[in-house]
Symmetry: C2
Subunit: 607 residues, 2 copies
């Protein structure tokens, strides 16, 4: 994922570190002189500058010298960047110099990553790491835990925590309310706590981690442990590669407690309206049966990047005598032993559910409606993630923070070019497997442009399965396969467009999810949801990711068109990494630091 | 603590690494040739070899070439050591070369630390880190978490855990039963779990961590965070320097869960007898009101190094009308606002309790019966621990493992020599404080030989206070001070030997604890307790640590005179580090690996 494709050839004889230092000096000189044209000329004709909140108070990528100049013309005076330094020796491979850098702005300290060719900067990543005067208390500045001066009436840590908990939402209002307490909400809550932003995470389940515990029993993470660490507290070295869902649940519960994340369980947000005059939201939360009115300034939707369940409306659903459920409601296979089950869909959830049902002796048929991309988990781990997130990467000094930054440094515009050869390798390695799958009639694809799973995830968040075993069941017919759209249901069966009739005691709609802004429609209103617009996706003009090109994932972790409303989500990797930038954006607003947004995205799609 | 006192002068011109490698080669050659005299001659005339389980299946120190030869004569054939290597460049300071080494034995892999002078090896530490063929599954070998081959009836992780829990102690017997689930029992339980030794930790409290939660409310750890990490899962960077007791409690509870330590709460061990014929213990545990018979092979007392409470028997205790309690039973100050409290004793617990009572407006008198050593926490952290356990040490690359090994490499015989100058520094730094304290009539000492707090801890586990604020209350009279032994109690007062009468509503006996083998007397029998003998202490012939010299802490983490009975305990540092060696000793026995013990200690004191 980190190799470069057809990079320009290097001819500069200077050593990589010297070249980087020279470039940084030129760049800083131009910036200090406010000469945006000169700064832009230091970028290659085809080049990408991705900024995570440090220059733009936005997550945005600009392209080529022209894009760089436009960005700088807007922000340079107010950002006042300085102190660009190389933080470790630069390296060179295939004509591209790679370097880790640090810098400052007027209000913060940043880190970055730079790729230089003979033509200039090819990729630049800049990211805000902390706000001056608002650094997190860690290491040398960690809290003392106790004052060594005794005084009468001094409260204990527990008394302070209990008082804070009792007061929060009643006396003291959270500045930021985070709706949804899965890994996204918890990671953000932990960061806000460390940054001293009064926040509250609310979640409808009984306790943190139930988001995972409540799912079907055989579920394990499909991503490996190195990719899944939360901020501050990495998993121990004995943690399984693919953690079982109940173990993930225990970890999240423990994490919430020891990181002191303010968290209300059994709490459902019923409605939220923005009070323009007060500049705060009015949010109705039902907590354990009691209705509570909160007045947060910032509202964060961390309700799951998958958004709301899509359940198709089909003729005959009202006459079907068996059970029907969306995949997200599927309780697990135990009750369906010996039953006939039809699973509509052929992506991750469909495969996981089919596999677990088969293991529990159900008679299972998968209905494939459109082609699906499948990669074997081991191949994905090795070829797709191994350079950044693996024991091998750890051994090679690629810390989680470095891996996240390398990952973030690859411009979305050309990311598919890096991905295609990886999936070509996987196709070759697992050729037998794909042969068997296709012989069984499975309609397999590699993405519109052959760029595989990760691009599908970024573009549409669907259309794939990381094979953790169930694909073999389809390949050899243990799980039956049918094709086409569902035409209607009868009292006892599912009838497909071609007339095929599948008897069923249970129909599972593994039919995916809508855009996250569906939650906004439910909780705020349809108009606000439309103003936020579609979430996720890059505008790649591939299937289910309509253009125009956005340059970044729509609406995620950055300002939306609705002030004081934010979207947070994604897998554990994204929850870890991007929660930092979202937390810093909220912290700056909480502290009254000006946060003029450069390049606020337009809304091109409302759902 | 790591500086050396008057070391021999170095004249060897070779670089440190070369000297170490040469020494290791000579040592290994002599060992391979089974020439114990030659091996012993590589040690300086005054020298120390401390072995943690790798050569001796014991924790033991031998001295000088003669001691080395005796040790090797006994163990060399069966240990079969090899592959001595230098693991990183050696360093030299003040004529002493320091080096980190690795080696193997027939059954295991070890790490060590070596100090060389011109005269040869001055100190050698050898420690067993893992048993061949029984390595912990970490990093590259961590568990997968899920099989990617589906099969019918495959249980989930949670089903497996639930079944294991339901079966443990009923169907399956624990190989090792750990009595006491504080930090010691939990750390050992976690290691046994990782090593695949069936174990069970039982504890009388409602949940893990209540050992801390149940104590007086102002309690915080007196040791700093860098000293307190548990195995596998270090505290995060934002953890307070001195963690409040409820936060420690939360951490222990969560640690127990995420490390999957088999743990029974609300379980009290009523009795244990060893069944010679079966080779197992018969242990009666009352679990949540139900009596359960367990048959473990190994019995570990992790009941607290402080052992059982010492409550003096005094005339008039039966007529005193107020409350009397041992410090360990003190519920905290809340109920005693406005009351007169007499605290008998002047060590850690006495000061902590006096401080908290004063903060809650009690009228407090401390009765000092003998002199006490006090150091200010900040000075102890900086001067006493800073080189090994501090942010500065972390920055300098002294990992927790390295710090533990450096600490362990200092021979107990001469440790006080390293300590004395540190306490001289503290005396100078805090001269004003000691002046005020003594002016207030407080009887202060620096240990029999001026070696201060840590030696008192190792020798007797008492006689000191790490000042976290309460000493100032005594110095300025906010807490009153009285002196001498208690003669008797009246209905309303405590009367001292000199006739001083102190009115009291509450008397707190902060009178310390007996030897840990008191627990053995209670649970097994008096005879077995006497066979185990006194626990803790070095035989230093200083106050409360009678000779003869033992070389190691009596009975801790190593074989006792009672087979299959072990003592485990100490502060968080010791619980972390020594639990490894105890766990490996238990693992070897569980696997049937021969564990002949070299130098099993004799019992010189029964209590």
């Amino acid at each position: 994922m980190t190799e470069l494709l057809d990079p320009p050839t290097a001819t500069d004889p200077a050593d990589p570190s010297t070249r980087v230092e020279s470039w940084l000096r030129d760049f800083e000189d131009a910036l200090t002189a406010r000469d945006t044209g000169r700064a832009a000329s230091l970028f290659a004709p085809t080049s990408f500058w991705r900024d995570l909140v440090s220059f733009t108070w936005n997550i945005t990528t600009v392209e080529d010298p022209a894009g760089v100049e436009t960005l700088l013309d807007d922000v340079l005076d107010r950002v006042d960047p300085s102190a660009f330094t190389l933080t470790e020796p630069a390296t060179e491979a295939d004509g591209v110099v790679e370097a880790w850098i640090a810098f400052e702005t007027g209000v913060g300290r940043g880190k970055g990553h730079l790729r230089l060719t003979d033509e200039g900067a090819w990729t630049l990543l800049t990211s805000l790491r902390e706000l001056k005067g608002h650094e997190e208390n860690q290491g040398e500045t960690r809290p003392q835990g106790v004052s060594h001066e005794l005084s009468k009436g001094r409260p204990s840590w527990k008394e302070e925590r209990d008082a804070e908990e009792a007061d929060l939402g009643h006396g003291t209002q959270p500045y930021a309310l985070v709706i949804g307490g899965g890994q996204g909400g918890i990671a953000l809550g932990a960061r806000l706590r460390q940054l001293g932003v009064p926040a509250l995470v609310v979640d409808r389940h009984d306790r943190p981690g139930d988001q995972w515990r409540s799912r079907y029993k055989s579920l394990c993470l499909h991503d490996p442990v190195w990719y899944d660490h939360l901020p501050y507290l990495p998993f121990p070295k004995n943690w399984p590669v693919f953690a079982p869902k109940d173990k993930v649940g225990d970890w999240l519960e423990m994490y919430t407690r020891v990181m002191e994340v303010p968290y209300w369980s059994r709490s459902t947000v019923r409605s939220a309206t923005f009070d323009e005059a007060a500049g705060t939201w009015s949010v109705t939360v039902e907590r354990d049966g009691e209705s509570i009115e909160l007045r947060p300034t910032q509202l964060v939707f961390a309700t799951g990047m998958s958004g709301k369940a899509n359940v198709p409306e089909l003729p005959g659903q009202d006459v079907f005598a068996g059970e029907q459920q969306h995949s997200s409601q599927h309780p697990g296979p135990e009750a369906y032993s010996g039953k006939k089950v039809v699973v509509i869909g052929s992506n991750n959830s469909a495969f996981d559910i089919c596999g677990a049902l088969w293991e529990n002796d159900a008679d299972v048929t998968m209905v494939q409606r459109s082609s699906t991309h499948i990669v074997k988990s081991a191949s994905l781990m090795d070829i797709g993630l191994g350079d950044l997130y693996s024991e091998r990467a750890v051994e090679a000094g690629v810390t989680t923070e470095k891996a996240d930054m390398i990952f973030a440094s690859l411009p979305y515009r050309i990311m598919h070019e890096f991905q295609i050869p990886l999936y070509e390798q996987m196709a070759e390695r697992d050729a037998d497997f794909y042969q068997r799958l296709e012989s069984a009639g499975f309609d397999h694809d590699w993405g519109d442009d052959g760029s595989g799973l990760f691009m599908k995830y970024l573009r549409r968040g669907s259309g794939y399965y990381i094979d953790v075993g169930a694909a073999e069941l389809v390949a050899d017919g243990r799980v039956k396969l049918a094709h086409g759209q569902v035409d209607h249901l009868t009292e006892t069966s599912v009838v497909l467009a071609d007339g095929t009739e599948l008897e069923a005691d249970l129909v599972v709609y593994a039919t995916g999810y809508g855009s996250m802004n569906g939650w906004v429609a439910d909780i705020v209103d349809q108009d606000t949801a439309a103003r936020v617009g579609k979430c996720w996706g890059l505008g790649s003009e591939t299937t289910k990711d309509p253009g125009p090109w956005e340059g970044e994932q729509r609406n995620m972790w950055k300002p939306t068109q609705v002030e004081n409303l934010w979207m947070h989500g994604g897998n554990l990797h994204q929850s870890r990494h991007y929660s930092l930038y979202l937390a810093l954006q909220l912290k700056a607003r909480y502290e009254g630091i000006p946060t003029p947004v450069h390049g606020l995205q337009e809304v091109h799609h409302t759902t």
